[in-house]
């Protein structure tokens, strides 16, 4: 073999293996093959270079080398014999058969190499297994001892696979448990949900009779047909007109002028009737009920009349707001129903819907049987339908919130809410919030949401001073009963109502704004104001004896005798202690001064043209003592300026700017003289990488840990620490060397 060929081969192999690319360069590979074809010597040489490259501690090099090897393996018998002779080492380097020789980093390349190697060896076994025994042996070794699954594309080892299986089994178990729990849950709460849906349904029915949008026709509604008996509480039918009157009121107030009202409604009806049969029917129905006195015509007749009379002509400009759709406003009449609806809505939204969604998730994830999933989905869709329906109702929440706070005001006017508010603080003074279950105890009616009978109206908050005016539709029996009970409670001194009454009697009326601060707090606030002027000093002996002459201040009895008690009375003499005396009369007051924030800036010029914004009191850590500077950052005083200039000169001498490598190179290029830019540049620039294409292994080592290690395990630092420790030890030894327990360390 010629030397040139040999060199060329080595060069090619090195280039190919250090390219860092996952695929080989085909041209170069072709050249290698071309040279190898000439003689077996070349193959020998290539084999050795490839093996040496395979031994490199870099997975990318190994991967490329392996690819070359597999190319040649399928071509040359000689190469095969060579490689098969050393098949053990080859496997160690590519398939990681030896656990003590793991594949080198980077990890992705190593993984790829292993997968590729396993696939290749399988194909080799298929092609050459019979001819080359060691290939077959190696294959069996991998298969039976190393338990490599050749079918598995991931080429995982048996341990990994087992782990995976274990995990899956565990997950399956967990899923099964979850499914069981969820199905049980569902079993339990299905009844409840259905009941709630039913309730919702009936409430809606109560609010708007025949409210049934075709778009939200759902399984729930179809499954649970409105059943007046089932609707909890079964509100009396005579309430329905009231609710629907709301609807009308809303329309009235919402948009139209009074005089146009009637026609409008007719038009509305007409339009809706043209558009949607259902809608038409509903609105007609409601109108029919609510305005039975005003309009006696049959809806169809009405239509005919409009059409016949030609009222709707092209000259009319109608502005209809159909999107307004339904609008339910809360009044005292439908208060109970609405609050039930709200509660139900909240219950669905916060409790049942998330729960159902969770079940659906669990079932789909675990792949549970169809039925459960369908059931859960049904539940979910019906709940969602109910929510949707609720949304379409456009119930006015805000009015309700006030209504809860309010006593029992007249439903229609909303302006008088403010003076209703006045009563609220009375209750707030001692109990801002009354839990539901305690309401009865406090003389309050339970909230209608929890009440079993929605018929009972929302009870007004406590208002004993002004007995509630009998509301139009509230049941007189209940209000009188409440009043009576209140009075009874006021007699009972243990009851909160009695305390309240007492308070009311004793205290002046609370200020206009609702605040919880009562008498004492206001007095405190006035004293606070005084405190600003007069200094506060801590209480001390001097204050205790203020203006008094103390007879035996600073006197101590000095026991001359050492005996405890067997002593003459005369022996004990009193001694005057000046210090003690002074202490009882004097007081130390320290004057630390006041903190004044620094208002000046350092203002030294920075590199980016700005001024230093630091606000140190005396000295800037970067620019030295703070001196007065002008707007450009130059010192105002002459001596400061001189000093600064001197410093700058010194700095420039240390590192002249013309020695900047780039600048020098430019100058050299311009002048053609050698200024030594290479030297300078080299000193600064790091060593050039040998193979720029390979991924850098050392770069990976640049982690927080490694950086810390570099600092902590720095030689000089270690030595310093060791010195300090040794010194401490020796000091201890000097001091306590005669004590045995220190001798040990």
């Amino acid at each position: 073999m010629e030397l040139s060929q040999r060199d060329r081969l080595s060069e090619l192999v090195e280039e190919l293996t250090t390219s860092g690319r996952p695929q080989l360069n085909e041209d170069k590979m072709k050249e290698i093959k071309k040279i190898c074809k000439v003689s077996n010597d070349c193959i020998d040489h290539v084999y050795h270079t490839i093996m040496s490259q395979l031994n490199q501690e870099h997975a990318e090099i190994r991967l490329s080398a392996f690819q070359i090897a597999s190319e040649l393996f399928s071509r040359s018998h000689h190469f095969r014999t060579l490689l098969v002779d050393n098949f053990q080492e080859f496997l160690e380097l590519t398939v990681e058969t030896d656990l003590e020789q793991p594949l080198p980093p980077p990890k992705e390349a190593a993984k790829k190499l292993k997968t590729l190697a396993i696939q290749t060896i399988q194909s080799w076994q298929a092609t050459y297994g019979t001819a080359y025994k060691k290939v077959a042996l190696g294959y069996h070794f991998l298969k039976q001892v190393k338990k490599v699954d050749f079918q598995d594309a991931e080429a995982r080892t048996v341990a990994e696979r087992r782990r995976e299986e274990e995990r899956q089994r565990k997950m399956a178990r967990i899923y099964k448990e979850r499914v069981e729990a969820a199905s049980k849950d569902m079993e339990e709460s299905q009844q409840e949900i259905e009941a709630i849906l039913m309730e919702m349904e009936s409430c809606m029915k109560l609010l708007i009779p025949g409210f049934e949008l075709p778009g939200i026709q759902t399984s729930s509604s179809s499954r649970s047909p409105p059943n007046p008996q089932q609707a909890s509480g079964s509100p009396s039918l005579d309430e329905q007109p009231c609710c629907s009157r709301d609807l009308k009121d809303d329309w009235k107030e919402g948009e139209m002028k009074e005089k146009q009202k009637e026609r409008r409604i007719q038009e509305d009806t007409d339009m809706v009737g043209e558009k949607k049969g259902k809608e038409e029917k509903k609105s007609e129905g409601s109108e029919d009920e609510e305005e039975s006195g005003e309009e006696n015509e049959e809806p169809l007749d009405e239509d005919c009349f409009i059409r016949d009379s030609g009222l709707i002509s092209h000259s009319y400009s109608l502005d209809l707001n159909i999107s307004q759709g339904l609008h339910v406003k809360e009044t005292e009449d439908n208060e109970a129903v609405i609050s039930t609806v709200i509660d139900l809505h909240r219950l669905i939204q916060t409790k049942h819907l998330p729960a159902v969604q969770g079940w659906v998730q669990v079932f789909t994830k675990a792949g549970a049987d169809e039925q459960l999933l369908r059931k859960a989905l049904d539940l979910k869709s019906s709940l969602e339908a109910a929510l949707q329906k609720h949304k379409e109702l456009h119930i006015d929440y805000k009015t309700r919130v006030r209504r809860v706070m309010k006593a029992s005001a007249d439903g229609e006017d909303e302006e008088d809410d403010d003076d209703d508010f006045d009563e609220v603080p009375e209750k707030e003074g001692y109990e801002p919030h009354i839990p539901e279950h305690l309401r009865a105890e406090y003389g309050l009616d339970p909230l209608p949401s929890t009440s079993t009978a929605p018929v009972t109206k929302k009870p007004p908050a406590k208002r004993p001073a002004a007995p509630p005016p009998p509301p139009s539709s509230s049941l007189p029996s209940s209000s009188s009963r409440r009043l009576k009970r209140l009075i009874e409670e006021e007699q009972d001194p243990t009851c909160a109502a009695a305390t309240l009454r007492l308070l009311r009697q004793n205290l002046p009326p609370p200020p206009a704004e609702p605040s919880s601060s009562s008498g004492p707090s206001s007095s405190q606030s006035s004293s606070d104001q005084k405190a600003v002027d007069t200094p506060v000093v801590p209480f001390g002996l001097d204050l205790y004896y203020w203006g008094e002459e103390q007879p035996n201040a600073g006197k101590i009895i000095k026991a001359a005798s050492q005996h405890q008690f067997w002593v003459h009375a005369e022996v004990n003499e009193e001694v005057q202690n000046e210090e003690l005396l002074a202490e009882s009369r004097s007081r130390y007051i320290s004057f630390p001064g006041k903190f004044t924030p620094v208002s000046h800036h350092c203002n030294a010029p920075l590199g980016n043209g700005k001024l230093c914004p630091r606000q140190d009191r005396h000295k800037c850590p970067f620019h030295g003592p703070i001196i007065p500077r002008d707007q450009e950052g130059k010192p105002c005083r002459e001596e400061d300026r001189l000093r600064e200039q001197q410093e700058e000169r010194r700095k420039r001498e240390e590192q002249p700017d013309w020695r900047d490598a780039e600048l020098m190179r430019d100058i050299e290029a311009a002048t053609g003289e050698d200024l030594g830019s290479d030297r300078v540049g080299k000193k600064r620039g790091g060593k050039k990488k040998k193979y720029p294409n390979l991924s850098d292994l050392k770069q990976n080592a640049n982690t927080a840990r490694s950086r810390l290690e570099k600092k902590v395990f720095n030689k000089s630092a270690m030595r310093r620490v060791a010195d300090v420790m040794a010194k401490a030890d020796s000091r201890k030894h000097e001091k306590f060397s005669n004590q045995f327990n220190y001798s040990l360390n």
């Binding site: 072709k30 093959k33 071309k34 074809k37 399928s74 071509r75 040359s76 018998h77 000689h78 095969r80 002779d85 050393n86 098949f87 053990q88 496997l91 058969t97 092609t127 050459y128 019979t130 001819a131 080359y132 025994k133 060691k134 077959a136 042996l137 190696g138 069996h140 070794f141 039976q144 001892v145």
Partner: protein, 401 residues
């Protein structure tokens, strides 16, 4: 070859000469042969194998899973391709199977109806080959590392047993009892070996780096202890006196004529000793990798003119010339550590077992048909070979030009 044959015909040569020459050639050409396979029965590493001396037909193997298998090595099919079948095995389903790794198996030297196996389950069992049931079970206090039956003994039927206990046990097959102990070692006895020349001479190797040679008729102590420095005090440190190796001695083998003794130790050395005087012959075999903590079974060839040693060395088997220490070849084929090898003296074949669960047969390469005499047939065979096995062909594609 022809010269040998004519000389043999003319009666000029010793009859042994041709035989020796041919067997030497065959040993030197040992190779992994694709035509010869051994059934894979063991699911775990193979610790020991033994070929019976009577017919040379059956081979025993003991695995780390406690299984003992008997193979038939003889090829009666008439074809080149042959897989050594497992005749019978004492598998895990057998009631009497060894619980732990089988460390040694050995045929009874005079009859294939009986074999002995010992294991880390602290027992040694004497098996009846026909019924595959133990005829006798010896129990010991510690793991049994090795046992050996004398191949030539006529006057006694003792089994020497090396266990975790430093005392060597002698068990008598006649009475079925442990009749004797030999004291002298300070650590577990890893290998024991009877001399193939004198039936009462026994050698033992121990983890205390000593190798002792015993005469079992003389119970008071060993005959001598092998010393790697031949008694030269200046070279030996005080601890290393009378030691054969600087580590555990885990391999022991007499040469075929019993005149020499080979030992291997975990100091990666192999030493050849004069078995009569205990003198270190100072043959340098170079580094013989040896990391085994258990016994290493290695063997020497028989009937070759320079004898060869086959010693496991990592994942390959090294072949050394016995007396010169020259490395002849490395037999590479195992993918994990080799634990045992056994030489078949009749066919000059070598069987080796390793931790990769393989038993490999190393078969001499047949002499290639003489090129000079029959060029036509050579051509034919050369042309025929690739047609049989296209894998041996080069497959350069044309587009690389």
């Amino acid at each position: 070859m022809l010269g040998y044959l004519t000389a043999r015909q003319a009666g000029l040569d010793d009859p042994l000469r041709l035989r020796r020459a041919e067997s030497t050639r065959r040993v030197q050409s040992l190779k992994l042969n694709p035509d010869r396979d051994v059934d894979r029965i063991h699911g775990n590493g193979i610790n020991t194998i033994d070929i019976e001396a009577i017919e040379g037909r059956y081979m025993l193997s003991g695995g780390a899973d406690g299984v003992v298998v008997i193979y038939d090595l003889e090829n009666y099919s008439g074809k080149q391709q042959y897989t050594c079948k497992a005749v019978c095995s004492i598998g895990r389903s057998n009631r009497h199977v060894h619980k732990f790794s089988v460390e040694t198996v050995q045929w009874y030297p005079y009859d294939t109806g009986m074999f002995v196996s010992s294991s880390f389950d602290k027992t040694m069992k004497v098996w009846d080959t026909e019924t595959l049931k133990p005829a006798e079970v010896f129990e010991f206090e510690g793991n049994v590392y090795n046992h050996h039956l004398s191949p030539i003994a006529r006057k006694h039927s003792l089994i020497a047993v090396g266990t975790k206990n430093p005392k060597i046990q002698l068990c008598d097959l006649k009475s079925g009892s442990r009749i004797h102990i030999l004291q002298g070692h300070r650590a577990e006895v890893l290998s024991v070996r009877w001399s193939p020349r004198y039936e009462h001479i026994l050698a033992s190797a121990s983890a205390d780096s000593k190798v002792k040679v015993w005469d079992v008729r003389r119970a008071s102590g060993s005959l001598f202890t092998l010393d790697q420095h031949n008694g030269d005090k200046s070279k030996a440190s005080s601890e290393a006196v009378n030691t054969a190796h600087n580590g555990r001695v885990n391999g022991l083998c007499f040469s075929g004529d019993g005149l020499h003794l080979l030992t291997t130790g975990t100091d990666d050395r192999m030493r050849l000793w004069n078995s009569a005087t205990g003198e270190n012959t100072l043959v340098n075999y170079g580094k013989v990798c040896n990391e085994s903590r258990k016994r290493l079974q290695f063997t020497v060839s028989r009937g070759c003119s320079p004898e060869f040693v086959f010693v496991p060395c990592g994942s390959s088997v090294a072949v050394y010339a016995l007396h010169t220490g020259e490395l002849v070849t490395m037999l590479r084929g195992h993918y994990n550590n080799v634990d045992c090898c056994e030489f078949h003296p009749d066919y000059q074949e070598l069987y080796s077992g390793g931790k990769d669960c393989n038993i490999l047969a190393w078969v001499p390469v047949l002499r290639a048909p003489d090129v000079e005499e029959e060029p036509d047939s050579t051509k034919k065979s050369a042309a025929g070979q690739p047609s049989v096995n296209p894998a041996f062909e080069d497959a350069w594609s044309s587009d690389e030009d």
